[in-house]
């Protein structure tokens, strides 16, 4: 399977199953699009009519180049992964990442929060150190030979239970060497409680921090409000700037959510850049279509254009020596994930689990609170084998809609939670998300082509 697209003056051909990317001229672009369904004579006729300056011999030469790429497995390569997808996930039984819901409570009241102001449709709760410690032991016990283990302190707002965060990290560090493990911690925070103590801790212990900011003040304040209803921008932005200044070269993301209210979201990304942040992420809101800020199908053309604006601007900024990183455009064509990762996906419900404040296990943070998806707990382990098996069978080849999709090795069939919320099944698809995802991948690939050809 191939995927062809034109963007920013480049004619790009992606060979889906080898991952090869080609930049071609208009003539080759048209010949490649005809190659599988037309005879050589038909191709010569069509091309020489459309491009009178091109001779039949030149067309034949191009066809020969295409055949040579096909022979070397870089064009029209076959799909050999379907069986691999199911076998790999079936065999893979280790857990390597936990999302610790350290606080089911929040000091902000963001309207679009999928966690319902941190409570996940339940009661407010804080994780105790005993639960956190047991979660660390549970992860070590179930991680097999995996060395790198990931723990994300998530909420609600994890800094509302910061002392427990610190104690959990201290405990994990005290046992990691004896088990030959390397813990990588992530802290996701809304910023309200960030202070020098938090910054010192995070810069010493956290591999990554995710700082929630939606962009421009009016956009951010519109949905990210304090409990008394005022905006939170002025509270958090100075703290985030201080945090990032002191972070040195350690990983962070300033991460926002855009909604129907700011479909011109590139202005929010550029605003983040103007504030001095360079590692940026901006996610489309995922919510009920009935919510007033839900993205609509009429928004799509605008959003596509926005993604193109962003890609072009990022190339320009890089050339000017002031690059920014956008999470969804970070693809590394030479050092990116292997095929196993690409077909098996994010690992939710298998190698990645969420832990509630009281120690229950869910397939991921987005399922927490939905009793149907309760997987077990950190003492007895995963006991809901039926659900675990559902997730083991959930991969890039599990969804009929993905069968002919060129992007499936970039998204592994998409987010199981989004699919579930959109269709009632984890092996459904969240079509709106797919459309945006594909546009992002085209932009990301185009950027790589542009950089390679420079």
């Amino acid at each position: 399977m191939i995927h062809q697209f034109k963007l920013n003056g480049y004619n790009i051909v992606l060979d889906v199953f080898s991952g090869a990317v080609h930049s071609v001229d208009e003539v080759a672009y048209d010949i490649i699009s005809m190659y599988e369904n037309s005879s050589q004579d038909e191709i010569i006729n069509t091309i020489t009519v459309k491009y009178p300056e091109v001779t039949p011999n030149e067309v034949i030469e191009c066809v020969e180049d295409i055949e040579s790429l096909k022979e070397s497995g870089k064009l029209f390569s076959d799909d050999e992964y379907a069986d691999l997808a199911f076998d790999f996930k079936k065999k893979n039984t280790v857990i390597k990442a936990l999302c610790l819901h350290i606080a089911h409570t929040c000091n902000l009241n963001c309207e679009y929060c999928f966690a319902s102001q941190g409570k996940y449709h339940g009661e407010r709760a804080l994780m105790s150190f005993e639960v956190g410690k047991r979660a660390i032991d549970f992860l070590i016990e179930n991680s097999g030979k995996r060395k790198n283990l990931e723990v994300d302190f998530f909420g609600g707002e994890p800094l509302m239970n910061f002392d427990v965060v610190k104690k959990i990290v201290e405990y994990a560090r005290s046992v990691e060497k004896q088990h030959n493990k390397n813990f990588r911690f992530t802290l996701t925070t809304n910023g309200v409680l960030v202070d020098d103590d938090v910054i010192d801790f995070a810069n010493k212990e956290c591999h990554n921090v995710v700082l929630s900011l939606d962009g421009r003040k009016e956009v951010h304040d519109n949905l990210r409000k304090t409990i008394n209803g005022s905006g939170s921008y002025d509270i958090i932005v100075p703290k985030f700037r201080h945090f990032v200044e002191r972070r040195g070269n350690k990983g962070y993301y300033v991460r926002g959510t855009f909604t129907h209210n700011n479909v011109d979201f590139t202005n929010d990304i550029f605003h983040m850049a103007d504030l001095g942040f360079t590692e940026l992420s901006m996610e489309p809101v995922v919510c009920s279509p009935d919510d007033p800020y839900a993205l609509t199908y009429d928004d799509l053309p605008v959003l596509y254009e926005q993604y193109e604006i962003l890609a072009k601007e990022m190339l320009k900024r890089e050339e000017e020596g002031k690059p920014i990183t956008f999470y969804h455009y970070m693809i590394d064509l030479t050092g990116g994930p292997c095929i196993y990762k690409r077909i098996s996906g994010c690992g939710s419900g298998t190698e990645y689990l969420a832990v509630t404040p009281w120690g229950d296990l869910y397939p991921c943070h987005q399922f927490v609170g939905d009793e149907k998806y309760l997987m077990g707990d950190i003492w007895k382990g995963v006991t809901n084998k039926e659900k675990q098996n559902e997730f083991k069978l959930c991969n890039a080849y599990a969804r009929p809609e993905c069968k002919d999709c060129w992007a499936k090795l970039f998204c592994s069939g998409g987010c199981a939670a989004n699919a579930y919320h959109a269709t009632g099944s984890i092996t459904g698809i969240y079509e709106y998300g797919c459309k945006l995802f594909k546009k992002r991948m085209e932009c990301a690939i185009m950027m790589q082509v542009a950089k390679s050809l420079k």
Binding site: V21, A28, L69, R255, V286, L333, S452
Partner: protein, 50 residues
């Protein structure tokens, strides 16, 4: 080739032999949390080689 330039990429078919160590980052541990983008995860082995 006159009309086609091939960009250097990791050969996914070759990675059936070398890949699968599972040491790479879980995508939702970075910055998404509401979508699945596995393609932007770095291969841990490739990082080591660098």
């Amino acid at each position: 080739m006159k009309r086609i330039q091939t960009i250097e990429t990791r050969d996914l078919k070759q990675s059936t032999k070398s890949g699968g160590c599972g040491e790479c980052q879980t995508s939702c541990q970075s910055a998404c949390k509401t979508s699945c983008g596995v393609a932007n995860q770095q291969c841990e082995k490739c990082l080591e080689t660098e």
